[in-house]
């Protein structure tokens, strides 16, 4: 609650500041904290089920009007020789990790935006172009973005990508959890196409229950951990695995929300604007005293 108060204070103070400098804030909405709905949706990725067919990559591109190519070309598994990352031309990619047990099949891991509950990109963005939708999606607003790429610095999962080859209107590209499709009652494109339902779409809290049950029922199949349950304050996309997540190149992250430290320092410096104003007053006092001293010297 206190935090909220501070924020609203910051907002009003900023408004006053803008008033002084003769500016009007048209968009005060950017300041409102994102609402995290209890019923927000999520996806549970079961890496023990994924077969690495890469149909999700095709579906994603098709749904987002990116050049997708021939669906059958996605069966080429030679792409797995190198690790790939989502970029401006592919919002999701699947990687392959050979199994330490050589008689067993490799593990495939789909990578996309995790849709954090406390997104670092949202906190960092200079113009508030990111928002956490009630449905769980973290979406980017092309109307606001200025292309500073601070979201890319902030993201702990290294997801947002930038169109470096565009001179005009380059976009930040990242998975938007198919928000256009889901608002129309459709499934996210990748979830819909997945042949083996390695991607389970549902309410986040239901998915956590499902995941816990799976771990309990098949202790040999899964390690006892759900990635995204608590990492960086929780994410909408979560992963199950039979192997240590670090082996699958997931970054080792704590449970504190990624923007936590940064925001608390920021709010510390700007707490009710007290520190800047007191510094101002202090310097004013010093100036006045020194001037007085000098005047008395002159007289």
């Amino acid at each position: 609650m206190l935090k909220q108060d501070r924020r609203s204070f910051l907002k009003t103070s900023a408004l006053i500041g803008a008033g002084i400098t003769g500016l009007k804030s048209k968009d005060t909405k950017a300041q409102t904290r994102h609402v995290i709905s209890e019923d927000r949706m999520g996806v549970l990725v079961d890496t023990t089920v994924c077969i690495g067919c890469r149909k999700c990559e095709w579906a994603c591109k098709t749904a987002h009007d990116l050049p997708a190519g021939d669906i059958e070309s996605y069966e080429d598994r030679s792409v797995y020789e190198k690790m790939r990352r989502p970029d401006d031309k592919a919002l999701t990619v699947v990687n392959e990790y050979s199994n330490p047990d050589p008689t067993k099949l490799p593990t495939n891991v789909k990578v996309q935006c995790m849709h954090c509950d406390e997104p670092a990109c949202l906190s960092a963005c200079i113009v508030g172009a990111f928002s956490k939708d009630e449905s769980g999606s973290v979406v980017w607003d092309t109307e606001k973005c200025i292309g500073c790429r601070y979201c890319m610095i902030a993201c702990p999962f290294q997801i947002p990508a930038f169109e470096y080859d565009k001179a005009l209107q380059p976009d930040i590209k990242k998975c938007d959890f198919c928000i256009e499709r889901t608002t129309q009652g459709q499934l996210p494109a990748c979830v819909e196409i997945c042949p083996v339902e390695a991607l389970t779409y549902g309410r986040r809290k239901d998915l956590i229950e499902v995941a816990r049950k799976k771990i309990k029922n098949y202790p040999d199949r899964y390690i006892d951990s759900i990635l995204g349950d608590t990492e960086v304050g929780g994410t909408s996309w979560m992963y199950l695995s039979g192997r240590d997540f670090q082996e699958l190149d997931f970054p080792k992250l704590g449970e504190d929300p990624a923007p936590g430290v940064s925001e608390s320092i920021q709010h510390g410096i700007f707490a009710y604007f007290v520190p800047p104003i007191s510094l101002y007053a202090l310097l004013g006092g010093v100036m006045w005293l020194n001037k007085k001293k000098e005047k008395s010297k002159e007289e």
């Binding site: 669906i71 779409y201 998915l207």
Partner: protein
């Protein structure tokens, strides 16, 4: 009057409904309810079934001949029209399954009665409330791809179904699979393994003994072996670990403590009970299951004393005829020990009653058949 009739009507309809419920229940009466249901009173709306009755479920084998030959899996059309339906050679697959796990290899929820298809449990919709089991599309694909992938290491969609846009005629061609059979698997009689174990590099494995003598089912050893153990065509055929090599044997044999049980320096002769234990598996014991004698205590603790196993034998209930000798009237009523001193059933001693000149087999205590 009206009220009463309404009440009666309600009662009747309720009882009819309840009866119908019972009739439709897929499970046999012999099963406990809590085998499948987690709550006390399951209803149709909330059957509170356990997540996946894969492990606890009793299974029933059906003969392969009963299996439908071809099934066209076209239920997924409602979800997506990207790919054409799969024409599934069901019986061929059933035959192949029979080599490993039987029907339950795929029909893992296999209660007595009619075998259930996937769509009975797996919803044909990805947006659903019960997320504990995969939807129909997921279930189908997991069932098929897991094996197919093992031997090709690829996931070619086209090996089962073509893209709709690539099909010229609208109709799905149903191929005739009746002539196609999985080739009969040739059973080996003996396999001699050359291992890298120094104290005994040779392991002799008599396959026929395990099948015929020890009466083992194929599935008792081969249930975990995938299609890929024969079909893996990739050059990347990987060496199994030591543990995996021994896993099949260690089900019955001790592979931990004494390696020389199996690993010896020369080829092992066929199994001979008399040579190893001193007890001849005569015609009475030759064809019985090992387990009927070697029960709970494993292979230890038995001697050649009949009474160790046949604890209930007495003159009243033992029919001496099966030994090939019908006892004469004078011998019939004797206790066993009278002739078989010290439980020696091979050769009777006569000296208990007779003089020394009466000896077996010169004098018979009855009539030989």
């Amino acid at each position: 009057m009206k009220k009463i009739s309404i009440i009666i009507l309600v009662f009747i309809s309720a009882s009819i409904y309840a009866q119908k419920e019972l009739e439709q229940h897929p499970m046999a009466k012999s099963l406990e309810c809590n085998y499948c249901h987690s709550c006390e009173i399951p209803t149709k709306d909330d059957p509170c079934l356990y997540t996946c009755p894969r492990t606890h479920m009793v299974t029933l084998q059906h003969p392969v001949e009963d299996a439908p030959e071809v099934i066209v899996l076209d239920e997924l059309k409602e979800q997506s029209d990207l790919y054409a339906p799969v024409v599934f050679s069901h019986r061929l697959h059933a035959e192949m399954s029979n080599m490993a796990g039987g029907c339950q290899l795929c029909h893992h929820y296999n209660p007595p009665g009619v075998i259930l298809g996937c769509q009975e449990c797996h919803e044909n919709s990805r947006s659903r409330t019960d997320l504990n089991k995969p939807d129909l599309k997921g279930a189908y694909h997991r069932q098929c791809i897991d094996c197919h992938r093992e031997w090709t290491h690829e996931v070619e969609c086209a090996s089962c179904h073509l893209l709709n846009e690539k099909i010229v005629a609208d109709e799905v061609q149903v191929k005739d699979y009746s002539e196609i059979k999985h080739p009969k698997i040739i059973e080996p009689t003996k396999i001699v393994y050359n291992t890298e174990f120094d104290d005994g590099d040779i392991v002799t494995f008599y396959h026929d003994e395990h099948v015929n003598l020890f009466n083992l089912d194929c599935s008792s050893c081969h249930s975990n072996s995938s299609c890929a153990s024969c079909h893996d065509t990739t050059p990347l055929k990987l060496e199994p670990t030591l543990d995996q090599l021994h896993r099949v044997c260690s089900e019955c044999h001790d592979t931990e403590d004494d390696c020389t049980n199996c690993h010896i320096k020369k080829e092992r002769p066929r199994f001979n009970h008399e040579l190893i234990t001193g007890f001849d598996l005569n015609k009475y014991h030759k064809n019985i299951d090992c387990k009927s004698c070697h029960g709970k205590d494993g292979f230890k603790g038995l001697n050649d004393n009949c009474g160790t196993c046949h604890t209930d034998w007495s003159p009243g209930n033992f029919d001496h005829k099966i030994t090939g000798l019908i006892l004469s009237e004078s011998h019939e009523g004797n206790d066993c020990e009278v002739c078989h001193e010290n439980n020696n059933f091979k050769k009777p001693t006569c000296s208990m009653c007779h003089d020394e000149d009466v000896t077996y087999p010169d004098f018979m205590p009855g009539e030989e058949i």
